[in-house]
Symmetry: none
Subunit: 408 residues, 2 copies
């Protein structure tokens, strides 16, 4: 497989003024074209820093892409730096200069004197047309390798990259599958799968984990090994299918809305500590209105009583964060909305409100269709993390419940 590297040039990146979206875009595109990106470097607008990075990376890769530093000002040094690193001359292309000046005339009454800088071309380079801005790109062949210079603004870079895709395509396009889990810890998942995953070397395995998407298992191989990877996925699902919530780009809330539709069930939710977050995740799925009725953000105890009918005695005896309370919440919600499935969440998101028996992070989630399924959790993290984990876990419980139903 061909290797690639990216150099993003610009002091504004090193000062944190802009987020490096070009690097992500190029990485995604290069992966699809069959390259393995081995490094991304961000350097400032300094001739020697850029040149050194070009020399160092070109010894390791087949394709080197540079972005930024092609403007007309004195601190735009990418052209000079690449020429220096490759020991090539830089010459003024008179025809290109005219073209650029004509472009600039369209937007500005005066042609800036320094615009000429953009018409300097590295010896042997092919000029890449910029359909949006004035800075042309450049493409070089160096001992069977390629070096490409793109301008920094994504609006200019993206169409210019697209115009080279056909040229850059390799026979080794990648094939990738991502498996997504929520209620199994990363380490435990790896424990379950280590024999399957590490007894082969055709598929590269990586795991990622966060409290929004859960644990993602990323499997990558070249297209020629597609069948092998698909077989591996089957084996993995055999072992861990009960935990798996989705594949590739699929989000948990999308899966839940899809399963509700398939099962022809409606949903309503009553939220205390999550305060609308669960509803909001569901509503963000287009078409949620077919299955989602709505719900109550019963943040105060008064509202738990007045709208959902939670008993005063329950709150006094067990507290709002209790199995009894979430069960009365779903029962009240069912009466109020007539939804097939009702979910209630009540917990202590912190930073205050914890007690020795119910510390911050204690959360009760009830799912009520014919029967109650009530689970107590102890989540960690800050207020927002505890709330996000609670909402995601409620979705995961819904998913499991709907999956079980599907089997009956």
């Amino acid at each position: 497989m061909k290797k690639a590297a990216i150099i993003t040039v610009g002091s504004e990146l090193l000062e944190g003024l802009i987020l490096n979206k070009n690097a992500q875009f190029l990485c995604q595109e290069l992966k699809n074209l069959g390259y393995r990106v081995i490094k991304i470097s961000t350097v400032g607008d300094h001739l020697e820093d850029i040149a050194e990075e070009v020399r160092s990376l070109l010894s390791k890769v087949h394709l080197l892409i540079l972005t930024g530093g092609l403007g007309p000002t004195k601190d735009d040094l990418t052209r000079e730096a690449v020429a220096k690193a490759l020991n090539r001359d830089l010459f003024l292309d008179q025809e290109l200069k005219k073209k650029i000046e004509e472009k600039v005339k369209k937007y500005h009454s005066e042609i800036p004197s320094n615009i000429e800088r953009q018409a300097f071309v590295i010896e042997g380079a092919k000029v890449i047309d910029n359909p949006v801005g004035s800075a042309p790109g450049q493409l070089l062949e160096v001992d069977g390798k390629r070096v490409i210079l793109f301008p920094g603004p994504p609006k200019e870079l993206i169409p210019m990259f697209e115009s080279l895709k056909e040229l850059l395509k390799t026979p080794h396009a990648l094939y990738q599958v991502i498996l997504k889990y929520y209620s199994i810890p990363e380490a435990l998942l790896e424990d379950l799968l280590k024999e399957i995953l590490y007894s082969q070397d055709k598929v590269e395995v990586a795991t990622m984990a966060d409290h929004v998407e859960g644990v993602r298992l990323k499997l990558t191989t070249s297209v020629e090994h597609k069948k092998f990877l698909d077989g591996l996925v089957e084996k993995i699902i055999e072992k861990t299918g009960e935990y798996l919530y989705g594949m590739n780009d699929e989000k948990m809330e999308e899966v839940v809305v899809r399963l509700l539709k398939e099962n022809k069930k409606t949903l309503a939710v009553a939220e205390s500590c999550t305060g609308g977050m669960l509803s909001s995740l569901i509503v963000n799925v287009p078409g949620a209105s077919n299955v989602f009725i709505g719900g109550v953000v019963a943040y105060s105890n008064d509202l738990k009583k007045s709208i959902l009918g939670v008993k005063e005695g329950t709150l006094r005896k067990y507290g709002a964060v209790s199995e009894q309370c979430v069960r009365e919440m779903t029962e009240g919600l069912k009466k109020l909305t007539g939804a097939d499935i009702c979910v209630a969440i009540s917990g202590i998101a912190g930073p205050s409100g914890g007690t020795p028996t119910k510390p911050v992070g204690t959360v009760f989630i009830d799912l009520f269709e014919q029967d109650h399924v009530t689970i107590r959790y102890n989540f960690s993290g800050d207020r927002n993390t505890i709330r996000t984990r609670s909402a995601m876990m409620a979705l995961e419980n819904l998913r499991k419940h709907l999956k079980e139903r599907g089997k009956l």
Copy 2:
């Protein structure tokens, strides 16, 4: 000025699966602490690649920060790579192992066998506590230079970095003030302020805009010009104070909760297209329970009628996305909750549901205390953007209303 460099480790970055937000965060923070970041490198989960980059960069900088690769799995290699690059041993810290196991026990019934990997410490390193996840950080002093290892998830990295800020501060630290606006366009703000901002050269000015935080005006200077910058801020507030919602890290929802407390007012909200997002934003502010009662996610028309008492005739005649509907929603909500101030949102978030007279992005927001303030908006963007803008604008309306009250 001290130099710094950042190595972000992770094949998921090189494949474009995640956007490198850590690099931007660290660059901003390091700039404020008085460092000049000279390079950011992203390398994959390969021992030799990480080690080589550590060696190469440590010869050039005073501070080297690595992120990612501190998890418990086989592809988490940052600890090993740094130890190798520095020719130091890596040893199992039994006490740390116990601590990590205790942490993991809280959430998982089983302790994964590979969790031990996270308890390996580089010879001479100080362990940095991770308040969110299980992976501890490490801080090393190497010939008067510093090397710091942080985990990759921003939720974990950010608080861990904050805990080291005092230690990392240099004499060249910067002074910065950020002014935040929601209901004034960027260009208009700049027009109002151009004389104040561009008649001086001590303070660097930058503007940023997005639909969550609104328009932010960032003013930066060296610590010695603190007084000058504070004076500039006063002049800016004189001109634009009515639009200003907050400063620095202050979030709109925090300002609204604070103003509700100051005015001793309670709030309830009824949401349709935002589906709980507004509630969720408010509930994420610690102490919101003192002023926020809760609300109704009246996503279906049935719920608008049954819980909030919106009239069938209103829905038939004007539709759910109408001035009349949001007014009946707030009136119903007031009866239901007894809140001092009630807010209702109803709109078309798309992608479908638009009509020629009410295209996607049409949103009505009503604020009801003694009287109704109802505003019709036409937001652009995708479903999530329209919903976010709606929720943020409801907060901005609340802020303005409470500010006006404060003046009476």
